[in-house]
Symmetry: C2
Subunit: 240 residues, 2 copies
């Protein structure tokens, strides 16, 4: 393991475990770097590892029969990829794709299942995180239905920014369009508006958030609901 690899406890789920529980997992954790675009799971495919990111972002995506895509949730160091392992379904109909280069620790599914089945703090933390994920997916459904591309873009930028350090995203409009399930031109137009309003600046795949507070004001409620609910659930989970 290279000296440069971050501590597993950079991941907030792992960080929230009492040391006895953490130490049972630790020997099985394997550090991996996940480049942009890497697929962790395919729809309905076998899942061999669960992933606990310490940096970067993974998207949960669904691709329709017609070839259109929709992002259901984003996952960073606050969470993990592979809830269906301990939920018991083994697979999901979704893909998991790296949206911003990740460092992560992966855990063989059998270890996760065994440790989950013990009950106790690990189980509690994982289930509370899963509820946060449900909230995010639900809010995505609502946002897709009732809010404009402008607002969805704000939500997406904020959710992504929370999962990265700094104020800058590396992401082309084309990719954002795929995530939001809209046309690339729609993103161009909305991003142009936000730039003219002085909220962001962008240039060839690099988006810099200039006025975060303004972006939050411009955004629909969906971002706030997801954020506060996620924080509430993680705090709950860290209580004894």
């Amino acid at each position: 393991m290279p000296a440069s690899s971050p501590a597993p406890t950079q991941n907030l789920i792992l960080a929230g475990l009492p040391s006895a529980d953490y130490e049972r997992l630790e020997p099985h954790l394997e550090f991996v770097e996940l480049p942009l675009g890497r697929s962790l799971y395919e729809s309905g495919g076998q899942q061999n590892y669960a992933y606990f990111p310490t940096e970067g972002i993974v998207s949960l995506l669904y691709v329709t029969a017609g070839g259109n895509s929709a992002e259901l949730a984003v996952i960073g160091r606050e969470g993990m990829i592979g809830v269906s392992v301990f939920m018991g379904g083994e697979t999901t109909p979704n893909r998991a794709v790296v949206q911003a280069a990740c460092k992560a620790y992966r855990l063989p599914v059998q270890v996760l299942k065994d440790q989950f089945a013990r009950g106790g703090p690990l189980q509690i933390v994982l289930l509370r995180y899963t509820q946060a994920l449900i909230t995010q997916i639900s809010q995505t459904a609502v946002c897709n239905l009732h809010h404009s591309v402008d607002q969805q873009l704000c939500r997406w930028l904020l959710l992504s920014l929370d999962r990265l350090s700094g104020d800058t995203l590396q992401m082309t409009q084309e990719l954002i369009a795929n995530m939001l399930g809209v046309r690339r031109q729609g993103v161009t137009e909305s991003a142009g508006k936000l730039e003219r309003e002085g909220l962001i600046r962008y240039h060839r795949g690099v988006i810099k958030v200039v006025d975060r507070a303004g972006l939050e004001k411009r955004c629909c409620e969906c971002y706030g609901v997801v954020k506060s609910e996620t924080e509430r659930l993680l705090k709950l989970a860290h209580q004894p």
Copy 2:
């Protein structure tokens, strides 16, 4: 308890439990009738009971700041209302509203939490059902984004029909519009199309499905994904 009340095992989650596990719950189950429109949970509100329907349909809804509503999932006798109780969040930002008159058994949350914490078959069945619910919410997000009102109406009719006996739904277009988060006139128009195509007939709040196979063909993939995934997960859950 009136003689007419159905057996609790009409609910598929309760039916899937080994008798030892079922018997631990049974003394705490209380039969209730839930009329159309009754709210079981409000957004962020306290949840005192979990509900296991034996008949009827409950919708999980989110209401936006702007007053628009969106249905995230429908729940019938295959499931239960109140997953956030054992997921550990205690509340959710959603409402749960009776969409077709229900008979159900309710269970005090503390009993559910205690029994869930034992681990074993109850826990497994509940978690697999929760994954099915996640799938349904996810597919709702996708359908809202990429599919027409026509297709969404087909999906909704089929999902509701699966949770009722017979081929008839009691539901005004106004209510369906609220569920789908679209205008009432949009539903009128789509329902008109489906009737002209000979798939359904309707009259003043009563919808009769004439050609179920045709409806499935007319529908987007979303219905099929939800249905097959739910069946897969319930079957898995009933295995030892």
